[in-house]
């Protein structure tokens, strides 16, 4: 499955990619933004930073048994700080289709074209 965020800033494109990651698992609008967590990542380039960010999110979902529906991302000098809001997985309500194993380097791209940033990769499910 591919995830792609498109937005006017790189940070917002990352946030949209995170939302797309949630959509691989469930309908994001079924997730109440009740709890907030913080994620940090650091990488030598934007593409690795995207993979690291998504993998950090996958780790948090797996270990906290949570799903997230709202994201706020800041990126400066190769460092990412993000806040994610969500709630504990409720199987009956969220009907999660699949767990994501990891974000991959396949179709990995972060770039700006015609004034819009794209952040994308394939995730393994």
């Amino acid at each position: 499955m591919g995830v792609r965020g498109i937005a006017s800033t790189k940070a917002e494109a990352f946030a949209q990619a995170a939302l797309a990651l949630t959509a691989v698992i469930t309908q994001p609008n079924t997730i109440e933004p009740l709890e907030q967590i913080t994620i940090t990542a650091e990488a030598p380039d934007d593409e690795l930073l995207l993979v690291d960010f998504l993998n950090a999110l996958i780790f948090e979902m797996a270990t906290r048994k949570m799903l997230f529906s709202r994201f706020e991302v800041n990126i400066a000098d190769g460092r990412l700080t993000a806040r994610a809001w969500g709630e504990h997985t409720d199987v009956a309500r969220h009907q999660p289709a699949v767990e994501v194993k990891g974000a991959t380097y396949t179709q990995l791209h972060v770039g700006k074209r015609d004034g819009l940033w794209t952040a994308q990769c394939v995730v393994d499910v």
């Binding site: 499955m1 690795l48 993998n55 780790f59 199987v91 999660p96 699949v98 767990e99 396949t106 394939v122």
Partner: protein, 476 residues
Amino acid sequence: MDISQFTQCSPTAWRIEPTSRMHVPAIIFATESLIRDMDHKVYEQITNLAMLPGIVQAAYAMPDAHWGYGFPIGGVAAFDPDAGGVVSAGGVGFDISCGVRNLLTGLTREDIYPVQKQLADLLYYKIPAGVGSTGPLRLNGDEMNAMLRGGARWAVERGYGRAADLERIEEYGCMAGAEPHEVSEHAKKRQHDEMGTLGSGNHYLEVQQVTRVYAPDIAQSFGLKEGDVVVSIHCGSRGLGHQIGTEFMRSMALAAGQYGIELPDRELACAPINSPVGQRYLGAMRAAINCALANRQILTHRVREAFSDLFPSADLKLLYDVSHNTCKLETHEIDGRQRHLFVHRKGATRAFGPGHTELPDSFKATGQPVLIGGTMGTASYILAGTQTSETRAFSSACHGAGRAMSRHQATRQWHGREVIDELAARGILIRSPSSRGVAEEAPGTYKDVTAVVDAADAAGLARTVARLEPMIVVKG
């Protein structure tokens, strides 16, 4: 794919001659029809694979090959450590040691029919499945490390199953060379409550009936006949393996340049086998193999408990447990010389033939069982390694059907409830926590597993022994 790009060696073997940076040729085993249906990315990925340092003989793809991450899924490649050979985290995949195990129940389909619904409900109750599910165990640091060293042997010592199970598991249930200290705390944390869980996606537990026997002698030796009921479990190393794959793919992608490896695709991230990163990965990956073997062993115990509630005298014996996402050190004869090679099988099953020294006595005459998973509405197959397996692709065969459409496309075409009702009308009971998950795994989303198995048989990769059709399916 366009078949004009290949040299046809036989009706089921297609060769790409080495060009530019390829060290060896690439060979795809498939019928013309399967090749034509394959994604062009398989061509690109199998030729990229042939460019990696130290690759021996050829880069191979199995009949179920499809677009993977660096390696095609259904890819097989062997590397010589003494010739600068590499180990690749992407070449094993995120779900390290994902595999299939098959249990003989000693029951017939007529035994199951009267209690089919009860058995489906009981198995669904006993087997934690789906996103966020947790298992019956919580391992502290020492026990986690003991599990990562001991695999299924550890599980048997803790009361999950019996000693006789171990010889019916590849590596006799315990992968040597596991290094738990190379497994990160993140990976261990991800596994903390996931021991004994099935997972989600294409993972499943099925009660199946044998509907056809193709090789009666081998089937008899395996303990299979038409009308028999078996249980198949398909899952892997859970969160621990996923985290190890994630972490080492990154380490290898960053380290490749230091070792002078020019990656044709970042996803082919690899490191020399004899490098610190390569050795650390092998230690962690082998620990993940043990995690998968222990996980399937615990699930086996739970299946036996469920069956004993309804069939107190049933004795569920393990036929075999195979892994189809691995890298293993094996000895293969190349040009008349025995060589020790690291064989990557990514979505490919080991298929040692009759007489292989690493097989238990019970499979010395038949070759090892090769367990091929199908879909919840079609069939799975049991094959056996043959004498020709070794000469084809380092004794490897296919692993499943392979997806024909994306999950997104599937949900536009099917609804979970409809799939469940349609299969129920055909006598197949589905139990799953996720309706969308069922739609994404609808039988029509996969390729024709029978065509894949027929091609593997015709190519001499393995011999078809029996066809299995589902009666009960537990999906994550």
